[in-house]
């Protein structure tokens, strides 16, 4: 157990209240080692759960000989294995994640990326403390950084260090990055994508996520939304500058306020529907909500 935080995003005292929560999966998973999560394997080392009629080719070691002796029928005893969790967190490090409060008057602070850094640091800490394995991927227009899953304290420190030193790239192509990440995995696990999904090719992004789903990964899409993005700032005229080399544009917000809000909500709805269509869990996260509250709600919801 770590006693000294290796990163400024790790708030151990605040996380103490979340120690009783655990990250659970909705489906049975594949793991490398025994753990606290239900394995997809029903082998003989776990807890008995059921009988099943024998089929040719089944492992004869699982045959219940006593039942066969009494009844003359052949049944197999089924046991639920428990295994560890492999969770990989993919962080969108495009420049749009650097968006914070555009106008000084507003009392919102912090970028979306900072919010994700806090969230990811806390989540990885909780996962490793439960002996689960954690991997990290940083994506922009490609996969910028990847740490394979691990559960050692050293690994966790590396993960935290990478999260702490995150910088942004002025382009986004999550689809390519996810596809690249997909090629690096041989086993199943959980993929948690934290992004604002402000990219040109949303369809490509979710097709890449479908690859994970096709390999029975559990995919969670965290849609990070800044409150200042939901509504345009108040004022007469602004020159808006894009964060991903999108140029500038002059406008009077009052003239397009309603249309803009409709367009943003449309974007959020699109992300949600694409995520749900791809079989991903979708969760919209507002940076206006404290990350600990978001994390506890997220874990509690998954625990059912």
């Amino acid at each position: 157990m770590l006693t000294r935080p290796a990163t400024r995003f790790l708030e151990l005292q605040a996380l103490a209240g979340l120690q009783h929560l655990r990250f659970t999966t909705r489906r049975r998973i594949d793991g490398s080692y025994s753990g606290r999560h239900q394995s997809r394997q029903l082998s003989g080392s776990g807890e008995f759960v059921d009988f099943r009629e024998y089929s040719p080719g089944d492992d004869l070691r699982k045959l219940d000989w006593k039942v066969m002796a009494r009844t003359g029928r052949r049944y197999l005893r089924l046991y639920q294995d428990e295994t560890d969790l492999t969770c990989t967190i993919l962080i969108d490090a495009s420049s749009s994640m650097k968006f914070a409060v555009p106008v000084a008057e507003q009392k919102l602070a912090g970028t979306k990326l900072e919010y994700v850094q806090y969230f990811a640091t806390a989540l990885t800490h909780l996962l490793v403390s439960r002996q689960d394995r954690v991997g990290l991927a940083i994506a922009s227009d490609q996969l910028q950084h990847f740490l394979p899953p691990g559960c050692t304290p050293d690994h966790l420190q590396r993960v935290h260090r990478v999260i702490d030193r995150l910088s942004t790239w002025p382009a986004t192509n999550l689809g390519v990055a996810i596809q690249e990440l997909f090629n690096r995995f041989k086993r199943r696990g959980v993929l948690l994508v934290a992004s604002d999904f402000l990219c040109d090719d949303l369809a490509g992004t979710f097709s890449a996520l479908r690859l994970f789903r096709s390999r029975f990964w559990e995919v969670v899409a965290l849609h990070i939304v800044h409150p200042a993005e939901e509504k345009l700032p108040a004022g007469d005229a602004f020159r808006f500058v894009g964060l991903e080399n999108e140029g500038t544009i002059n406008c009077t917000p009052a003239e397009i306020r309603e249309a803009y809000e409709r367009r943003f909500e449309e974007h959020c709805a699109t992300v949600r529907s694409l995520a749900q269509a791809a079989g991903c869990d979708y969760r919209r996260v507002s940076t206006a909500v404290p990350y600990l509250q978001t994390l506890s709600g997220f874990l509690a919801e998954r625990a059912g």
Binding site: L198, L232, R239, F240, G242, L243, I256, F264, H267
Partner: protein
């Protein structure tokens, strides 16, 4: 080229079209720099809205510019005269045109919220529209015609400016003076020139019945443009206000207020009469198209000059200006009568005794009100102290006494001369000779050759004072009167026979009342001691009314017509002229008032002004004390807004000339209302802009 009534508004309007652009550029906000992650959404939204925004911006810009232009045009008032073709046909002819624009008080009459002058203005402007080889002049016709230029000029823009600035004046229309002025201008325009006279007026009957165009050259084309409405607008007016008799301090004073009702229905009116600090309300009914005299009684405590007004209460008529009439009142001390007679006071019955009793019928009257003096012993100072001089059997007057009496008459005293003796004929001749041109008796008295007995009255002017006191019964009351004595009389040629108020059956004069300077001389030709008149019930009222009439000369002047030349003699006690100042009424602005001047003349101080000031009470003061007051008022004839008929103008008054009469019908009314349509269009543009902004949700 389009013409405008207020052409100055056109360049302003053209410049103002650029105003929306200028405002847009000046008020364009400076954008603030702001980093945004969702610029792609902003761009998408703007691209979607760009087409509609541009459409909206152009629409708003066009509507704003159109609204400003239309507003400028509304103010400029374009003249859409359809007579351009006729003008073109006359273009090759040298033309001199004089436009007479009536600016008298009646042009301020309002019908349907529009003044008659406002209807006249565009007509005048259209007649002053530019045409080649044409010279114009404009005469603003009030009490005194005011030509803009001395002779017709090509400077039509100045004339248009004068038309735009013209205002209805509180004056009557001196039509003949205006026609005379126009005629002189047209006659001086030379030969081979087409002459045109355009008169724009309401053709008020009171002003136009005596119109005479003979002063205008015979070849002049006369066009009369009326701005009168087909229906005569109803009007109520205070036509006259003043004391019925001489006002005396501490005694009830009756003020007459004559109200005219120039409408087809009878009206009940209320008039607030104010004199000094006292206000009295009188009410009465006024018949349709008639007049009524209302009497207000008030007591004024102090002698001196008192100013006030008579104001119609709660009246909403066409002409508001004549609902108020200023009032000036001279409050006298109780009068003193001087009876110059040789008859003894103890001689009864006697002519002088009858006169004394008739002058002071009340027993309670002050005993010293009548001072009986024997002319042979009367000191001049005591004679001069009398407000009314009564001469009965005075005997032969000395030259000094004749000069004194004439002087007193000229100063405004009244004199009643009862001619009973032959010497009275001599006295009257000497009085007439001493007065010179100030006294012109309509008859010449001479001693009667035969005895004059049983004379009765045959010709009595019962509609004139003092016989008005009897009303319609004057002839019946006086029928029993038989007069004896007196003088024979012979009519003087070229004298005013109207001054002979009653005549005997032998054609000699019975009662003569004539002016002498500022005073009045009444001659009663009879020996009262030998006649039955003193025993008649008519005697006391007749003598009372006669003395009131003679004293009434000092009741104060009637109001002087505003805008007309004025010459008024101030009372003798006003002298000297130094130290006197004229104080205009508080309502008059300093620019609008022409006070005139005070001049010392042989007869006293004369107050002269070429143009009497606007309606109000003017006071002549010395050291803050009023020594004389005078009211100017709108002439009463301006209150009757009835127009003269077209036939009378074109047939009877035209005098054989070709006079065209034009009343602007509905189409011309529509032309006059062009500005209203422009204003409506302007309003529509403003509303359209708001609808546009609302429709585009801006």
């Amino acid at each position: 080229m389009p013409q405008f009534l207020n052409s100055w508004a056109v360049p302003i309007g053209l410049v103002s079209i650029a105003l929306p652009l200028l405002i847009h550029l000046l008020t364009r906000p400076r954008p603030r720099l702001c980093y945004l992650s969702t610029v792609r959404f902003v761009r998408e939204v703007i691209q979607q809205r760009r087409a509609t925004s541009r459409l909206r911006d152009w629409l708003v810009l066009l509507l704003r510019a159109a609204a400003l232009l239309l507003f400028a045009l509304t103010v400029a008032r374009p003249l859409l005269d359809g007579s351009a073709g006729a003008a073109a046909r006359r273009a090759d002819t040298q033309t001199a045109r004089v436009v007479i624009l009536d600016v008298s008080q009646s042009l301020a009459a309002t019908v349907n919220g529009i003044q008659a002058l406002e209807r006249a203005r565009p007509i005048a402007a259209s007649r002053l529209r530019y045409q080649s080889q044409t010279v114009w002049n404009l005469i603003l016709a009030g009490a005194v015609p005011q030509p803009v230029f001395e002779r017709p000029s090509t400077n039509y823009s100045t004339l248009l400016g004068e038309v735009a600035r013209a205002r209805a004046l509180p004056q009557r229309l001196n039509l003949q003076a205006a026609i005379q002025s126009a005629g002189e201008m047209l006659a001086a325009s030379g030969t081979g020139v087409r002459r045109e006279l355009v008169v724009i007026s309401d053709f008020q009957r009171a002003n136009w019945t005596a119109a005479d165009f003979s002063a205008v050259p015979a070849d002049t084309v006369i066009e009369l443009e009326t701005v009168a409405t087909p229906e005569t607008p109803p009007n109520l007016a205070v036509l006259r206000a003043g004391p019925q008799h001489r006002a005396e301090a501490g005694r009830p004073c009756r003020l007459e207020v004559e109200v005219g009702n120039f409408s087809p229905t009878a009206k009940t009116v209320a008039v607030d009469v104010t004199a000094g600090e006292t206000t009295v309300r009188v009410q009465g009914a006024v018949p349709p198209q008639g007049r009524a005299v209302l009497l207000a009684e008030m007591t004024l405590p102090r002698p001196g000059w008192s100013v006030g007004e008579a104001r119609l209460v709660d009246v909403d008529d066409s002409l508001a200006a004549d609902n108020i009439r200023p009032l000036v009142l001279r409050v006298h001390t109780p009068p003193q009568f001087v009876l110059l007679t040789r008859q003894s006071a103890r001689l009864r019955p006697a002519s002088s005794y009858f006169l004394e009793r008739a002058i002071l019928p009340e027993e309670a009257a002050a005993p010293d009100s009548v001072v009986r003096l024997d002319p042979s012993r009367a000191p001049p100072a005591e004679i001069s102290a009398g407000d009314l001089l009564v001469l009965d059997h005075p005997g032969q007057l000395t030259d000094e006494q004749v000069q004194l009496l004439v002087s007193l008459l000229r100063q405004g005293r009244g004199m009643l001369y009862v001619t009973a003796e032959p010497v009275d004929a001599s006295n009257l001749k000497r009085l007439a000779r001493a007065a010179g041109s100030d006294l012109q008796l309509p008859v010449e008295f001479s001693p009667a050759g035969t005895a004059r007995k049983n004379l009765f009255l045959t010709d009595v002017k019962q509609r004139q004072p003092p016989f008005t006191v009897f009303g319609d019964d004057a002839l019946a009351i006086l029928a029993t009167v038989r007069m004896n004595g007196g003088l024979a009389s012979r009519r003087v040629t070229e004298a005013l026979l109207d001054d002979v108020l009653a005549t005997y059956n032998d054609q000699s004069a019975c009662l003569v009342v004539t002016g002498c300077g500022a005073g009045t001389l009444a001659i009663l030709n009879a020996d009262l001691g030998a006649s039955n008149l003193p025993s008649s019930p008519a005697f006391v009222p007749l003598i009372g009314e006669l003395t009131n009439q003679l004293l009434g000369q000092s009741r104060g002047l009637d109001a002087v017509p505003s805008g007309e030349p004025m010459a008024v003699a101030l009372p003798s006690e006003s002298s000297p002229v130094s130290g006197l100042i004229i104080v205009p009424p508080p309502s008059a602005t300093r620019e609008s008032v022409t006070l005139g001047e005070l001049r010392e003349e042989s007869l006293g101080i004369l107050w002269q002004s070429a143009v009497a000031g606007p309606p109000g009470a003017y006071q002549v003061q010395r050291s803050g004390k009023t020594v004389f007051a005078l009211a100017t008022a709108i002439p009463a004839e301006e209150a009757d807004l009835t127009s003269i008929s077209r036939e009378i103008l074109t047939d009877r008054l035209a005098g054989g000339r070709d006079v065209k009469f034009r009343s602007r019908p509905s189409s011309d009314t529509a032309r006059d209302e062009t500005w209203a349509w422009l204003a409506l269009a302007c309003l529509a543009c403003v509303v359209g802009e708001m609808v546009c902004l609302r429709a585009f949700k801006s």
